[in-house]
């Protein structure tokens, strides 16, 4: 799990709680929470398909960087995600799509940020839950999921 990023998201949200919340803090907290999930998923995909030990670090990095936001959103948000991968991955998918929507709002959409402190705190919680799901995916299922996420179909 990318615990460091979750900690940073929590710090930003906590800073927003100690004073009157400011948009910039809440926006960065949401975006960071999403990236905690994205990077946890990228790391698990890469570690499942290639080793990350010793001289294979460069190979691991290639696999790590192969995860694409749109591809992940499309696969994890697909209608058949539950039947293909089970209830836990369906829960991961629901969280991933929600967080990706929220981070797009946070990162790219100007104007008033529509989320309050509690909603941001719950998005961080959703990210924490999603990271825990990613870490607990059994290897055979993770291998199938990683292949579909990282490898282009022909």
């Amino acid at each position: 799990m990318d615990k460091d990023l979750l900690d940073v998201a929590q710090l930003l949200a906590t800073a927003a709680q100690q004073t009157s919340p400011r948009q910039a803090l809440l926006r960065r907290a949401v975006s960071t929470a999403y990236y905690a999930v994205f990077q946890t998923l990228a790391a698990r995909c890469a570690a499942t398909l290639v080793t990350y030990s010793g001289s294979d670090w460069e190979t691991y990095t290639i696999a790590y960087r192969a995860l694409d936001h749109a591809v992940a959103q499309r696969l994890l948000g697909a209608r058949d995600i539950g039947t293909s991968f089970g209830d836990e991955i369906a829960a991961l998918g629901a969280a991933f799509v929600r967080l990706n929507q929220a981070r797009t709002q946070a990162d790219y959409i100007p104007g008033t940020f529509p989320l309050g402190k509690s909603q941001v705190a719950e998005l961080i919680e959703q990210a924490r839950g999603a990271c825990q799901i990613v870490e607990a995916i059994p290897t055979p299922i993770m291998r199938r999921l990683a292949a579909q996420l990282l490898l282009k179909r022909r």
Partner: protein, 108 residues
């Protein structure tokens, strides 16, 4: 495609069970488009005042159960589930009600 009222009935049944013990009060549903312009459902689970932040695994399971139930009923639009705390605090450099219409386009 279900109406917002149809979705509300289904969502209320699912969320009342999934969020039991977490202060669930009622649901509000609105059709719209997400930031990628995909037709979507915005499902707000309104909580009672004063409840603490809900655990992530509870929210994620509720969201997945909601998605699954909608799919069973032929509704393919993605439901964006948000928990709404009536006593939530919004940024001081923003007004609490002016953001959603800018970021989530509605159909009507």
């Amino acid at each position: 495609m279900l109406t917002d009222e149809d979705v509300s009935v289904l969502a209320d049944r699912i969320l009342r069970k999934a969020l039991e013990g977490h202060g669930y009060d009622r649901v509000e549903v609105r059709s719209g488009a997400d930031v990628d312009d995909a037709p979507s459902l915005f499902v707000n689970a309104i909580l009672v005042t004063g409840v603490p932040v809900v655990r992530g695994d509870v929210i994620n399971s509720a969201a997945a159960a909601l998605r699954n139930e909608l799919l069973k009923n032929g509704e393919i639009r993605f439901p964006y589930l948000s928990l709404v705390h009536p006593d939530d605090e919004f940024p001081v450099d923003a007004s609490p009600n002016s953001g959603s219409d800018r970021t989530e386009r509605t159909n009507g």
